[in-house]
Subunit: 199 residues, 2 copies
């Protein structure tokens, strides 16, 4: 979560303050308050802190929301770095698990649904979560070209969409599609091998 | 847009009535009225017709909105039926062109952005537009297995996501991704051939 300041005597400790802010926001979202109506002022009032206390931790409500989303998301996956295939499976399985979490949480589902019509929040989420993941995936693919796991004439940017697209279609666009445990492996191996009959 | 033709005795003819209803809705969306605020009553008032006139044509505002979206979308593509590859390219290129249209139209973009937080509208669009397209694509893939263009052990449902996912990622999720003319062909041929080095 956001930057953690040192406690000062008599004032609640910083972590506790952060938690009360985040919990206040989550409670309001659960109560059906649209994100667009959650001003820093209202968030501060709900948490019983001043607006400055929030601005010390987050530059605006977009950063606060993205921080909350990242908290639910968990840390980005550790890559073993032994093979492109293995790392791609790890990255896609992270997307799959995020999809599973999202389905089980009405709150998360709700936030993501609203996000697309809140361009500033979408941009912040994109810059903080999506873009770094994309850069990691592109790096994995480049190493795959270097070590001979990926054809050298393959467009890396297209390859990224070929691996990631099928998973995102199921997690983001089709909420009833199966997200079974072996899905990441099946996608990676199918795209690597191709669907055309061999021999 | 065009003027509205009047029928006998000053009563607007049926097509003209429909057009004035649709144009009224488009105008309100352009003016920034959120879809959630567009009640049948308000739509009727704006078009200068009774609510019954609208309900004679559409069972509710969801059906009316989906009809408008389909109008911008154009008819579903004609499939040559000569090869699975050719038909898949046609289907994916239809998605690509819809993405291009959506980017050039602030109105369409706006409607799609709001749709995800309007579950009834999303369901209606899904049932009327997405599901039929999906069934067509699955049929094309099945014929591909029959004529030997697709490996017989391939999971058809997964194959659908492998072809369609990369295009949807670019059209729906990443509004800055390139949608160049050859994209559909490149996706189809890459997924068929696979990305693993051969030989």
């Amino acid at each position: 979560m956001g930057h953690i300041a040192k406690g000062v005597r008599g004032r609640p400790r910083s972590e506790a303050v952060e938690r009360s802010i985040v919990e206040g926001v989550l409670k309001m979202i659960e109560d059906g308050v649209p994100l667009a109506d959650l001003s820093i002022e209202r968030i501060a009032r709900t948490a019983g802190v001043g607006k400055a206390t929030i601005y010390r931790r987050w530059s605006g409500k977009e950063e606060l929301f993205v921080d909350i989303l990242r908290g639910v998301d968990g840390p980005p996956p550790e890559l073993a770095g032994e093979s492109m295939r293995g790392d791609l499976v790890t990255l896609l399985d992270h997307l799959r698990r995020r999809g599973v979490n999202m389905r089980s949480s009405a709150l998360l589902h709700n936030v993501f649904a609203q996000m697309k019509s809140l361009p500033k929040l979408w941009e912040a989420y994109h810059a903080t979560v999506i873009e770094p993941q994309r850069r990691v995936t592109l790096g994995v693919l480049r190493r795959g070209v270097e070590n001979g796991e990926l054809r050298a004439d393959v467009d890396i940017v297209l390859a990224n969409d070929l691996f990631v697209g099928p998973m995102l279609v199921r997690t983001v666009l089709r909420s009833d599609a199966p997200l079974d445990e072996g899905l990441a492996e099946r996608i990676v191996d199918s795209v690597l091998a191709g669907l055309r009959p061999t021999g």
